[in-house]
Amino acid sequence: MGSSELKRSKDSVESARWSSFPDEVLERVLSLLKSHRDRSSVSLVCKDWYNAERWSRTHVFIGNCYSVSPEIVARRFPRIRSVTLKGKPRFSDFNLVPENWGADIHAWLVVFAAKYPFLEELRLKRMAISDESLEFLAISFPNFKALSLLSCDGFSTNGLAAIATHCKNLTELDIQENGIDDKGGSWLSCFPESFTSLEVLNFANLTSDINFDALEKLVGRCKSMRVLKLNRSVSLEQLQRLLVSAPQLAELGTGSFSQELTIREYEELESTLSICKNMHTLSGLWDAKGIYLPALYPACSHLTFLNLSYAALQSVELAKLLAHCPRLKRLWVLDTVEDKGLEAVGLNCPLLEELRVFPADPFDDEIVHGVTEAGFVAVSFGCPRLHYVLYFCRQMTNAAVATIVQNCPDFTHFRLCIMNPGQPDYLTNEPMDEAFGAVVKTCTKLQRLSVSGLLTDLTFEYIGRYAKNLETLSVAFAGRSDWGMQCVLGGCPKLRKLEIRDCPFGNAALLSGLEKYESMRSLWMSACNVTMNGCRLLAREMPRLNVEVMKEDGSDESQADKVYVYRSIAGPRRDAPPSVLTL
């Protein structure tokens, strides 16, 4: 037989083998696949695999709630028990998206109630959710177990009360940094006496006082509790009492860490903390007083994540604390620790992988404190495994960033925020192009990049040319011309999310990405030079994209103030408010 005939006969044998592969076995194997990207790949292999995959999938992740409709999801995946949904564009966190923009969960819940009555988990990010929706959720799904809300808004503590009252099997209630209307702490008392299943309770970002008695009893009877994050109203003394009944906690968020304690109370706290040997995550520490921090030392030996981003520690206090945290992998701090504090990080935390430095006083640029490039460099020398950084500072140099990435070439997430827009290298007065050039050239695994400072188009040339794994790019007050954005859209093969504000990119740049946008999740451009005509052209050329424009009051007719472009198989949305124009 000739070689081509040989190949053909082999193929037919192969396909015969595939088609006789039992579905049950295939499904069983595929059910072990957790990553939604792997599952997407699997579903593309052939029709059988597509079907096997959709029947075996139990968790669906939807990165843009408008990219698909709940009906389409329910039709494809009949057996979902866990849903993760993300709604508004990320810049809504910074008040750049108008109120009532959308991303309301309710329509989804209605479909889920009909199609997924056994839904167990719902994780929402930047969605609008009302108290009515929360109540609907609580009564529609008898097996509901886990609710996680991050950066959501539209609800109040009344909605939480409904969840606490009706969800008999709840294991997780995780309320993080939301626009919640805090009407009081009585919701916590709504958990019935018979309720014992809670494993995760996070109400750290609520402000009202809760009934401590109810909390103490709740923690006492939920023996499987492993995550407890308290809010500021819980005192040190109360914390100690809670820990006595929950020494098994793996993640603890303290309440206020500044009550006046007697020596005896302090010692009690210290000894209670010392039996929390499972603790790997510590946060809270609101208003932390330096003198009480040593009580934490015994609990820190296995700590891998320390979140001090609401505790305004000074450098010496941080240094002393870190000396007890040799296993630390993730650290979040306020810039009150200054460069000296970051030097201590470099000295004490060789296993560090993630560092986030938040500004304590972001709107006062007369500040003489905060962190500089020196602190970041110091960390890079001591922590070669660093791969995730979020750094807010008021000065930076190209040379420092070059040193940093030389020390830590494995960055996957590099988010640098030089807080004064358009600020150059403060020593050389040059743009910060070379800094980000160094980042993209050296860090080949880079997935996420946020740039800042004075940047010309050169930065974007570098990004387009070198950032081959980049998925998310955030740009503000940067660039000189359309060319910059064109470089990014022309390079960066894996780009999924591009968000731009206050840059001189116009229609030519916008339209250069025509084909690209269908391979991306979304594009955001605000306060750039894009016009309505440019947007209309984009919408006309690319019918599978939704092009939405948000106009500012009193702005020029022809200017497209804010543009949000995203791919969708659900067509243009019908719930947009009047301020959002769908083209």
Binding site: F94, P359, E366, V368, N420, R480
Partner: protein, 294 residues
Amino acid sequence: MEKSYDDTNTEKSGLRLKDTELRLGLPGSESPEREEHDQNVLSLKSFVSGAKRGFSDALDGGGKWVFSGGSGGGSEGLFSPRRGGNNNGGNDLSGSDSGLGGPVLKDGVAPKPLVVQEKKSQVAAGNGNTAPASKAQVVGWPPIRSFRKNTMASHPPKNDNDDDNAEAKFGSGCLYVKVSMDGAPYLRKVDLKIYGGYKELSSALEKMFSCFTIGQCGSHGVSSRDVLSESRLIDLLHGSEYVLTYEDKDGDWMLVGDVPWEMFTNCCKRLRIMKSTEAIGLAPRAMEKCKTRT
């Protein structure tokens, strides 16, 4: 690089004198591009980077303030001498006059940087004059979630140096005023009470901002009083000149040295070492004020 920006801007200043009057080049503004760019919107883009400072004077008493096509003309009301105390954050590009004046829109199409007052006191628009007790900020910048912003605002972290936010404090034997210098990333503070006169003050400032040196040249007007007519900090590195100015009780910016030392220490609220190109408009007013006072 610095030189070229300066050169270009000086040229522009030469061409449009009106625009050099108390005009600002905002940080990040790149003047060569401005003229070349098709839509003049780029000029506004670069203004945004200085939004904190420049726009504040044009604020209309709160809420959002948005550029619209028509409002660009007549720049006097929109820009006034740069507010004192606000740092450039080390950006010398801002020092020279842009020559573009205010947000004058040539082609009518302008981007709209949103500026929101976040502090309590407001500044009337078109004031032309300064004494801004508040700062304008760009919406959504720096990128911090509302929850964190609100938390830090309502419970400010306790610092040992709590007097950072205080202005000149009297009594208790010391008189601290903040000193800012264009191009320097940090503010400093000096106690005016410890100096005997202008010469001591200027040498102290020289030491403080030690990469610059002071030379004294010429005298402004003849006066029998103790006047430091012009103190100049000559920046050897950058080749530009600085003058020492101060904000008085009325919120006006004056050249240091016009009034007797004791009067100066009584009415000085803060000091600013600014580029002399910025200070062009100051001298006449200072002299006027002096006249009305004496």
